[in-house]
Symmetry: C2
Subunit: 375 residues, 2 copies
């Protein structure tokens, strides 16, 4: 479809957007943000959305306007983009090592409240040194391994002893504890997920009690994600939760199921990749222009929307195959189709811009300012 | 390691490069380019390297300086970057649909020799219209499906009839035929790969003979890739080949094997991701800062280099686990490790810059100018 409006096509119908394009349903995004904010208000837990998903200050500010207490990120580079974009409170929910990154992190603490996860004494000392050199205070949370087997210190006494050592370091302020279990986010079935999440997170909460009992004052007990927000977010002692994907959802999260439903529908799908059919070799096999460089594959293929009887399969870096069960309801050359990404975070990281849609028309083009910021 | 040179760290040792970083071994890259160029000279076949791999004019010019006849790409956006960077002959080895892309494609033909694959009459007519509007001639190759089951017209009579129709369109110049079979590139074992590639490509070559016999003059018969260059590149009738990954290699290509070897060593690995250990929970499990956003996963995990007894596993978007068989040869906090990507093209597409290394030091930082250019 041709639409010749001048500025980035604002006002043009969705079908006129050139492809591959990453579409955001603005109204669904806003509703998801409000739904999570309401959960936080109802249960008295802070919402600290994970910006590793959206990677843009614009969405961070939508979340904060709805009541979020700040943002969390995985990388210093993401924190830089948020702070430059006016976000005042950022938790780097991940370990940071290396003098260049620590100097950048400390510099951010001059203009924003910065907190970072620590799990190693040498790393904490290097962080304290960087904070001292920059004449700032950097907040830290002790990262506790609640069973994921990735980063983090062991819960209980080991965490407590580490906490005491960190609390003594000048330039650092021990603010609390973090525990996150990525794999549990995607356990299928609400009851199975709840059971595992509660047990894992109990180790974090018990450790927090140890800290308090041993004179280590903490303000933050942080963790949880989109799959467990309603489970861990209601456990006594949690002060904040870190959901990221809830704003967009994806095929992987849709499939984990909710209480009484096979579909996890606490939040609405608000993200899609728009693709164009650029070859129609047969009536039941056509080819789109969106492949591995337009849709991440780490948890499998995306889900084709709006086209029952057809499925998407990766066809290479720049090709996606659409295969139909029958030749009925054919898909023609030049037609545009929408795909629900299998994993929103890694798909978003492939794009420079969001194409934001309202009422069937392009409403805005937002830069994905922290795309590629892995450092 | 600290190194305070001013400009992007040029001259600093590799170990001082902040991570994750995409390292290019300049000398190995140059040797790979020369090896492929020598193959072309020896066998009288044109080398048209695929820029979908490297996405940068700098490497295109290294290839052309060594004798390459031009470049091929998958997307108009990649062609734009190459033409803006001074590349004079670009084949878009893929179908292009949509008036915006066709207008951009036609505009490129004002300053460069542009050729594009076609497999559909409506698409060819739209291309001819765009060429007419821009008052240019665009070259086309008929894309023949030699068995991949993706794009392309059927070989033989169907292709011939389509070729005649395309040849009659004003604004287009029928230049030849293309046939490519992606899956065969990665068939393990040289003999099995050669057998399948020769049979598949024979359909392209037979179709070329049909074209000539029926009065359709063609200059280009193009195809093949890094896995089949030495097989299809020596078949009579092939005028050029399109290898991309040979300049860097990756884990997937290394494993397909060569004649008399389990390792495909026609070319040297010249690409690695540098990562830093940022958490050391146990003596046999440490965590790096390079995960799914730093290393593509579409063909599995990367290969850890230089560290026998340790293997890499993805640990999330921003984490990679290194797991050791024993606690001997431990990997310490802050240590840097190198990873051979499983798939070079999709990994490169995650980065904005190459860090080019010679003699153990950073020699240059090259922009990956066409990263993300999926349109």
């Amino acid at each position: 479809m041709r639409c010749d409006r001048q500025w980035e096509g604002i006002g043009c119908p969705v079908e006129a957007i050139d492809t591959p394009a990453l579409l955001v349903d603005f109204d669904a995004l806003q509703r998801n943000i409000e739904r999570m904010a309401a959960f936080g208000t109802t249960h008295g837990v802070g919402i600290r959305p994970h910006a590793k998903t959206h990677k843009t200050p614009i969405i961070a500010h939508m979340q904060i306007a709805a009541g979020a207490i700040g943002q969390c990120v995985q990388k210093v580079g993401e924190a830089e983009v948020l702070v430059a974009g006016g976000v005042a409170d950022v938790l780097i929910a991940n370990e940071v090592v290396g003098f260049e990154k620590l100097a950048r992190l400390a510099a951010l603490a001059r203009t924003a409240r910065i907190t970072v996860a620590v799990d190693n004494e040498l790393a904490a000392e290097a962080l304290a040194e960087a904070a001292g050199a920059a004449q700032v205070t950097v907040g830290v949370v002790v990262d506790v391994d609640v069973g994921q087997g990735r980063c983090g210190v062991a819960p209980g006494q080991a965490a407590l002893e580490f906490g005491h050592r960190v609390a003594r370091l000048a330039g650092l302020e021990l603010r609390g504890l973090q525990g996150y279990h990525g794999a549990i986010q995607h356990v299928h079935g609400f009851d199975a997920r709840a059971d595992r999440a509660r047990k894992a997170n109990a180790q974090l909460l018990d450790t927090a009690i140890l800290f308090e009992a041993d004179g280590l004052a903490i303000d933050i007990v942080t963790g949880a994600g989109t799959g467990t927000y309603a489970i861990e977010g209601v456990q006594a002692g949690m002060t904040e939760i870190q959901p990221g994907s809830y704003i967009f959802m994806d095929r992987q999260y849709r499939e984990i199921g909710a209480s009484g439903s096979d579909i996890y529908d606490d939040f609405e799908p608000a993200l899609a990749v728009l693709a164009t059919v650029m070859s129609t070799p047969t009536a039941t096999r056509v080819v789109t222009d969106a492949g591995l460089k337009a849709l991440s594959s780490d948890v499998g293929a995306p889900q084709l929307l709006d086209r029952p009887g057809w499925t998407y399969a990766f066809g290479g870096d720049e090709h996606g195959l659409l295969v139909g069960e029958t030749a009925r309801a054919p898909i023609g050359l030049g037609e545009k189709v929408r795909l629900l990404p299998s994993h929103c975070d890694t798909t978003i990281n492939l794009y420079d811009r969001y194409h934001v849609v309202r009422g069937g028309a392009l409403a805005a083009v937002w830069p994905i300012a922290a795309r590629g910021r892995t450092r």
